[in-house]
Symmetry: D2
Subunit: 158 residues, 4 copies
């Protein structure tokens, strides 16, 4: 049985400098440093982040808090979208939806965000978070996010 | 013109000790301490949290990161649901959906979560986050969350 | 105990002719006629629709299909947003999220959509569906929807 | 570049008779007949539906109404989940979230739903809707849905 879910295409960045632009913007997200979430991979329309398990970020059962997962998933979606935007665009999240699929237990976490549908104004992304321990990787959360490209907003710089 | 959105009812807690139960569980959420998110009010089916603006939790434009808002919104939903559950229940988030309505700028943030529909297994909540500055308060994000009551799970204690 | 969920403001329409504009666009939604969904009330930023129970629109347990509820909820959100837009705008749904709160059983259904946050490009709405029988009304589904105002698109006319 | 989104596993049905069970339940969804939505394929954890373009189901611009897409997407998710449930379970939708990615124009529509995470009580699915014209197929909408298995509910029969 082959999957009938259509293979998503690969994307051409509008900005050849997309990688540096993503790195610079990500570096300005103070929350990423605070939560020890790091950029692991940048492709056109696809971003991978990683972060270690941290007791300081757990909920009452000792799992990583769903909102912390959402923080990484949202950044993965946002920078996947941002990687395909023109140089002068800023990116803002309009909304996201997260499903928690399994307890977020592991040594470290891998979060992959990918553009599903790019657009001039609106870009839709999906992301998945995996809890990793040694060679094992388990899907623990997913997100669908809607991002907007902003132009000419003085208060919001890319 | 009066609103036709029906007034939601007030709720009777199943556990007269709901307040202490919420406080104790909240105190075990290490992420709340780390992010300086505090319990401000506990009512049956309604929870209010507050936290100060913190540069360490911002995204690239200096606003509080959407995922940090989601963290507070999710805890507000979770404990609103938990306050109506029987003593032996643990609560887990199944999914949530957040809309970012305005830049999260302010001196401090107020997050109110409320049960929309309680249930034996599934409880649905809504929450709103407000950015506050002096006497002003602005709605910056909303969440709808679906929570599940868990019983007899050895790996998950309430 | 008074609710701490902030009261949402009333809205001023940009187009004094908003009512006729909503009626005309709604009349072009062929799906509304087919599903017997009718416009019951138009206010600035708030729309009420009604439709009768119809066996032809049920799922396997005899309740109204969740997608039919979503159809009415989406139209209620869309026209609530549309009522506040300028005359030359068309409205498109970007995304919506629906919670099914109780079985959709009743003699007829009332669906109320309301703008939560209007915007030049993006408007966020919430809607609720009530199952009605004689004098009783029960909340059966809720929606949060994100709508976009479109301008100057030849293929999409308002 | 190979995708880093993990390949989802294939599923083993608990009920060897899953196919007939899906067909029988689907046949009782009166809304499917009314909207001319047909079962095209049943696999363990994966369902494909098709329906023709129908003017009677359009919104104001002549595209298929977002709620009609949601109806098909929800049924695809629901039966994908149902195909993996034990014989005595009934399935109900808890919530779904739909993104509208492109105008739903085409000769016919293909909707594929797939289980992402099966569970004893909660199953999470994703679905995609494609607008088809001759040999072309375009992704027009996606859904993430959360389904619940119900047991021993007299009012709800599978």
């Amino acid at each position: 049985m082959s999957s009938s879910l259509e293979k998503h295409p690969s994307f051409q960045p509008q900005d050849p400098n997309y990688r540096v632009r993503v790195e610079n913007s990500f570096a300005r997200q103070r929350a990423m440093t605070t939560l020890k979430i790091a950029l692991a991979r940048i492709e056109p329309g696809e971003i991978e982040l990683t972060f270690p398990y941290q007791e300081e970020l757990t909920q009452q059962h000792g799992f990583i808090h769903a909102g912390i997962l959402a923080t990484a998933l949202d950044s993965a979606c946002g920078y996947a979208a941002f990687s395909l935007m023109p140089p002068q665009a800023a990116v803002l999240t309009i909304e996201f939806k997260t499903n928690l699929l399994a307890p977020a237990q592991g040594d470290f976490f891998r979060v992959v965000g990918r553009v599903v549908k790019p657009g001039r104004t609106i870009t839709v992304c999906q992301a998945e978070a995996f809890a990793c321990r040694q060679s094992q990787s388990k899907l623990v959360a997913s997100m669908t996010g809607t991002l907007m490209a902003l132009f000419d907003r003085e208060d919001i710089q890319h």
